[in-house]
Subunit: 302 residues, 2 copies
C-alpha cells in the first residue's frame, strides 16, 4: 500500500566536527519519504519556493515518490541552519527561515484521499488535523511533533493525538507533553490518549515503544562514526512507516519489525551529510543491519 | 562456586526528591555482596571503623556473606554524602570522608586465596592489583573503577585491566579512559587491552556489552518510580558476578544471562533507599523481571 507523508521540505545548512554543508536537501518530509521509498510508494505533501533546485524534485521523483502534493510557490524555500557540538543527540539551531513554509496550507490532490497509511511529520498540529480530515479511511496514522507545538498549540496537538494510532517522538517531547519526568510514567500518560503504540526516539540510546501489549526496546545500531545526525529521527519514522505500509498487518510483531527497519535506516543516514548516504542504501544492506540489531538483543531462549 | 568481593563499605547519607537518609548501610562492596548473595556464597573484603553498627555486620552474615575479610579498625567508617537532582543518572557528591578507608590495605584470609570468581569493586587500582596477586588461580575476574583513578592512577589501572576478564564501568568512564567520544569506538579501544567482555552501564538507558563475539544490549527495567539510584551500578555488578559464579560456564550466552540478572537486581535496588528493597528481594521476583526484560527485546524470529 502507498504512504502519504506531509511535512517540511527544506534547504539545510549544517556544521559538525566532520565538516559543513550549505543549503542542501533536507526537511522532515524529505528524510521520511526517501527512507520510506525503500519499502513502499510514497506521496509527498509539502511546499517549496521557486528557488528550490529542480534536481532535488527530480531526485525524489526518481525514487518513485509522487510529488503532485509538493506545491511550488513564489518565494523562498524553508531554510534551517544548525550545528552539532559534542552532544550529537542535540542540534543547536542557528537560524530558521520559514519563508513559504509559514503559509503552508496542505491541500491533498484528489487521488491522495484514499491513501491508507499516513505519516504526519512535525508541522503545526492544526495543519496535521487538516490533512487527516481530508483522508477518507486511513488504516494507520502516525504523527511526530516538537517542543514548539507542545508549548504553543497544545490543545490542537492533544485533539489530533486522540485520533491517530502511533506517535513517534523524542524523549524530551514525551516528558514535556506529559509534564512527567519519569519516562515510563510519561509514556503511560501519553498512551492513555488512546494510542495503539507510542514510539520514543532516544538518539544514540535507541528506541523504546509502548504498545497495548507491553514495552519493546531496541538499541541504536552501534556506529563508530556519526558525521551528521540531521534527519535521523525523520529517517527512522519514514523507515518505520514505509515498512508498515508494505505489510498486511499492524500487529505488535509487525511494529517491532518496523522499529528495526527504521533504526537500521537511521543508522545509514547519520553516516554522511544531508541524504548522501541514505540515497545510496540498498535494501540488502538494510536487511543486514536489521539482522545485526536482532542479534544484539538476542538471548538463547527469548 | 563462591565469589570474592573487595571494595568500600560505607555509611551513606543520601537525599533525593523522595526523601533522605542519614548514615545508612552502603558502599560498593556491600551492594555487590548483597546482590550476589542471592545466587552464590560471597566473601567480603573491606574495612570499617569501630563505629560501624554491629547489626550491619550481622545482617551481612545473616545472608551467608563471609565477613572474615572485613577488617574492623580503630577509627571512623568511610562516609559518603550525596544528592540526586533531576538527572537520576548522576549523583552530586556533597562530602566524602575516607576515614579508615584511606589506609585500606587488603590482606586476604588464607581460605580466600583459592576463590575462583573475583569482583574488584571501585578502589585504588594498586590495591585491586594487590588483591589479584593473592588469588592463586582465578577463573573470572571483573573490575569496576571511577573517574578519579582514571585521572590519577591510569598506569596502575591499565596494568590490571590487562590481567582481568571483564570490566564493568559506566559510559563516561569508558570515554575518559579511551580518550574517545564515540562510545562504540571507545569500547573497542578498551577491549583491545585483552578483555573477554566489556560491560558498560548507561543508567536508565540500560547496559551494552562488547564481547569477543559481538555487541549485546539490554535496556534497564522500566520503573515508574526511582527513589534512590545509589548503588545501582554496584548491585548490577554484584548480580552479574553472583549469577556467573553460580554457573559452570563463562560463555557469551551466560554473560548475557548475567547481565539480565544484574539489571533486574539493580531495578529493585533503586526502588528504595539504601538496601531497604534489595534485602527483601526474592529469587522468584528476580526471575520474573529477567523474564520481562527478555520479552521487551524479543522479536518473533530472533
Amino acid at each position: 500500500m502507498s504512504l502519504l507523508v506531509v511535512g517540511s521540505v527544506a534547504l539545510d545548512s549544517v556544521k559538525t566536527s566532520f565538516g559543513e554543508v550549505s543549503e542542501v536537501l533536507g526537511g522532515a518530509a524529505v528524510y521520511s519519504s526517501v527512507a520510506a521509498s525503500i519499502f513502499t510508494q510514497v506521496n509527498l505533501v509539502g511546499v517549496v519556493g521557486d528557488d528550490f533546485p529542480k534536481e532535488y524534485i527530480e531526485y525524489l521523483q526518481g525514487r518513485g515518490i509522487d510529488t503532485k502534493g509538493l506545491k511550488v510557490t513564489k518565494g523562498k524555500t524553508f531554510r534551517w541552519k544548525g550545528l552539532y557540538e559534542e552532544n550529537l543527540n542535540e542540534a543547536i539551531t542557528l537560524e530558521t527561515q520559514l519563508n513559504v513554509f509559514a503559509s503552508f496550507d496542505p491541500e491533498l490532490p484528489q487521488g491522495y484521499k484514499d491513501i491508507k497509511y499516513v505519516f504526519l511529520a512535525n508541522i503545526d498540529p492544526t495543519l496535521q488535523l487538516k490533512v487527516l480530515r481530508q483522508i477518507k479511511k486511513p488504516k494507520l496514522v502516525a504523527l511526530d511533533t516538537m517542543n514548539y507545538w507542545i508549548n504553543h498549540k497544545k490543545d490542537a496537538l492533544l485533539e489530533i493525538i486522540k485520533e491517530i494510532d502511533v506517535m513517534v517522538v523524542n524523549e524530551a517531547e514525551v516528558k514535556q507533553l506529559s509534564k512527567e519526568d519519569n519516562i515510563n510514567k510519561a509514556m503511560e500518560r501519553i498512551m492513555a490518549y488512546g494510542l495503539k503504540c507510542l514510539v520514543v526516539k532516544k538518539g544514540e540510546y535507541g528506541v523504546v515503544a509502548l504498545h497495548q501489549e507491553g514495552f519493546f526496546f531496541l538499541p541504536a545500531f552501534p556506529l563508530k562514526e556519526v558525521k551528521d545526525p540531521t534527519g535521523a529521527g525523520d529517517t527512522f519514522a519514514g523507515g518505520f512507516m514505509g515498512y508498515l505500509s508494505s505489510q498486511d498487518e499492524i500487529s505488535f510483531h509487525c511494529l517491532k519489525e518496523a522499529i528495526a527497519y527504521g533504526t537500521a535506516l537511521a543508522s545509514f543516514n547519520v553516516e554522511d551529510f544531508s541524504l548522501e548516504r541514505l540515497r545510496l542504501v540498498k535494501r540488502e544492506e538494510v536487511l543486514e543491519r536489521v539482522k545485526s540489531l536482532k542479534n544484539m538483543v538476542k538471548f538463547k531462549d527469548n
